[in-house]
């Protein structure tokens, strides 16, 4: 009836407690992760505050507006994903191009 695949199979994880010796799967020791954790925590707390505010508004809203609360929660979750991904992959600094300023009497030279 249902053919087996290996999705979410209750296999036994081999994830042992991180040993004292460096492990190949562990991050580099020079990465403490504190900065990353702090940045993620700030974003998570902001999302948590939005969720709390939306939930707090539930009993106060008139009945026809009640479905707006789950919609706001969904929007908050999606915004959290965008923020967290932006924090994890910071953009490289933009290189400003010098604006070309035309001056009378100067001929544009094709550098190619």
């Amino acid at each position: 009836m249902l053919e087996a695949t290996t999705d979410a199979d209750p296999h036994h994880t081999t994830a042992a407690p991180p040993a004292d010796a460096p492990d190949a799967s562990d991050p580099d020791p020079s990465h403490t992760g504190r900065d990353a954790a702090r940045a993620q925590l700030l974003i998570a707390l902001r999302t948590g505050a939005i969720v709390t505010a939306a939930v707090a508004a539930l009993p106060l809203l008139p009945a026809p507006l009640a479905p707006a609360v789950p919609a706001a929660l969904a929007a908050a979750a999606l915004a959290h994903v965008r923020c967290a991904e932006r924090t994890e992959t910071p953009r490289p600094p933009r290189i400003r191009r010098r604006a070309f300023r035309w001056e009378p009497g100067v001929r544009a030279v094709d550098s190619r």
Binding site: T6, A8, H11, P27, H31, L58, A63, A66, P70, L73
Partner: protein, 479 residues
């Protein structure tokens, strides 16, 4: 119930199984960074699978039944679930996936380096799973009662037997695709009858939502806040939902999955509101267990004749599918956790454990009394909120959590949640259940501070692994 309704049930189930086969053919690739065999599931499909867990029999009947009984002011069940998914995306999903732990018990042992913490977490997982199966059995009993008029225990037995057959035949090994397709099938089974009813209703009388009668017996403002907190925090710790993040490709994918689940749960809450509005216009409100049955019978009352019977059959088929999906998910999660204690390892042990997990609540069901699906699911979520949720949140975000602190918090949370849940079922409100979660967290923090010498030596490195972006260990250190 006419033969037409039973035919509708069969057709709906056949469609669900056929669609599931199509989903299984989709390509999958191994999850990077995991030693064990597993397949990566794309975020939207994984989100639909988690949504299938959420849209269980309790949520399927409970949310719409509550709105039907009390009006649209009592949306706490779907709103709490959506809030829990948003919190899951914000605080838990990505770090948990980066830990590489399959279950909460695995995570507890990995993070705290203690077998004792693992045993305590396993006990809590079992308790949450069993409590979560109670409303599923209740839903199966109600659906079979509406379809055949037979006693509720036939529904419980047939439901457990069907889920056990699926588990033993290996069907739950493809649980993700199975649940993802079932989510959409259940949503369709919920939506089609209410849309048909709304069209007919609109043809006869213009809808006026403001004319919904005042709710009677609904929880007050404090009760609503307590229930939402219970459901939201309980959702964060549900083992059968956390299990799904293991199939995500990385921390980012797991976070995206949790966010998409919030969207799907919000979608299902809109359907609950539609049922509430439609049902109350037809005077179908009946608080308690009756609301669940009244919900299933609503299409028949709204649309007379064969069409109404067919739509009722479709709705009942959705309830049965919701029971099977959720039960399989719980059985896999709890059975997989328990099976790790067996001497022999392998799929057969997991399946046997899952069958035992499924059958255990049958002993409790006859003594449970007439409670609605929503009340029973709140009990399970209260236990999860007081035990696994603080363990996960503190384990992920606080370096100072120790194994004695975690065990003390889990034991204390279990006792408090069960006492508060019993009080809630006795009709004393949900405020004590909501207070149990912060109390358990406070015990965890206090005992951890008292035993701060036993903070694991690897705690710093474990937290770095949890919070550094995916693939950070491959990159050279900055500077």
């Amino acid at each position: 119930m006419s033969a037409a309704a039973l035919a509708a049930v069969l057709v709906a189930l056949a469609v669900a199984f056929t669609a599931r086969r199509g989903a299984r053919r989709a390509s999958a690739r191994p999850v990077p960074g995991l030693a064990d065999a597993a397949r990566e599931v794309p975020p939207w499909r994984n989100a639909a699978a988690v949504g299938g867990e959420h849209l269980c029999a309790a949520m399927y009947l409970g949310a719409a039944g509550l709105v039907l009984a009390h009006g649209t002011g009592v949306l706490w069940l779907p709103v709490g679930a959506a809030a829990g998914c948003a919190l899951l995306a914000a605080f838990v999903a990505a770090p948990l996936r980066r830990s590489g732990a399959y279950s909460v018990a695995d995570f507890a042992e990995w993070r705290l380096g203690s077998r004792g913490a693992r045993h305590a977490a396993t006990g809590c997982v079992c308790l949450v799973g069993w409590c979560y199966l109670l409303p599923q059995l209740h839903g199966a009993g109600v659906a079979l009662y509406v379809l055949t008029g037979g006693p509720h225990w036939t529904g419980w037995t047939i439901g457990v037997a069907a889920a056990s057959v699926l588990v033993v035949s290996g069907g739950v090994r493809s649980v993700t695709a199975f649940q993802a397709v079932h989510f959409w099938a259940k949503l369709a089974a919920l939506t089609v009858p209410v849309l048909a009813g709304a069209v007919l209703w609109h043809a006869h009388a213009a809808p006026d939502v403001r004319a919904v009668p005042a709710a009677g017996g609904a929880p007050g403002t404090a009760g609503t806040y307590a229930l939402v907190a219970c459901v939201a925090l309980g959702t964060v710790g549900l083992p059968q939902i956390l299990m799904h993040f293991y199939a995500s490709g990385g921390g980012g994918a797991a976070r995206r999955t949790a966010a998409y689940v919030t969207v799907l749960v919000a979608l299902s809450s809109v359907v609950a509101v539609l049922y509430g509005v439609l049902g109350r216009r037809h005077g179908a409100a009946a608080p308690g267990t009756g609301a669940d049955a009244a919900l299933l019978l609503l299409p028949q009352r709204t649309i007379p004749g064969t069409a109404g019977a067919l739509l009722t059959g479709l709705l009942a088929a959705g309830a049965l599918a919701a029971f099977v999906t959720a039960s399989c998910g719980v059985a896999v999660a709890v059975g997989g956790t328990v099976a790790q204690y067996a001497r022999r390892r392998g799929a057969a042990v997991s399946r046997a454990s899952a069958v035992v997990v499924l059958a255990a609540p049958l002993a409790v069901m006859p003594r449970l009394g007439p409670h609605g699906a929503a009340a029973l699911v709140t009990l399970a979520l209260a236990v999860s909120a007081s035990t696994l949720c603080p363990l996960l949140l503190l384990g992920i975000w606080w370096r100072g959590l120790t194994a004695p602190g975690a065990v003390a918090g889990l034991v204390c949370g279990c006792c408090l949640a069960l006492a508060a849940g019993a009080a809630q079922l006795a009709g004393r409100g949900a405020v004590p259940a909501a207070a149990a979660a912060p109390a358990a967290a406070a015990v965890m923090v206090a005992v951890s501070l008292l035993t701060r010498r036993s903070v694991p030596r690897h705690a710093g490195r474990a937290l770095a692994r949890l919070h550094l972006p995916d693939g950070a260990s491959d990159r050279p250190p900055a500077g």
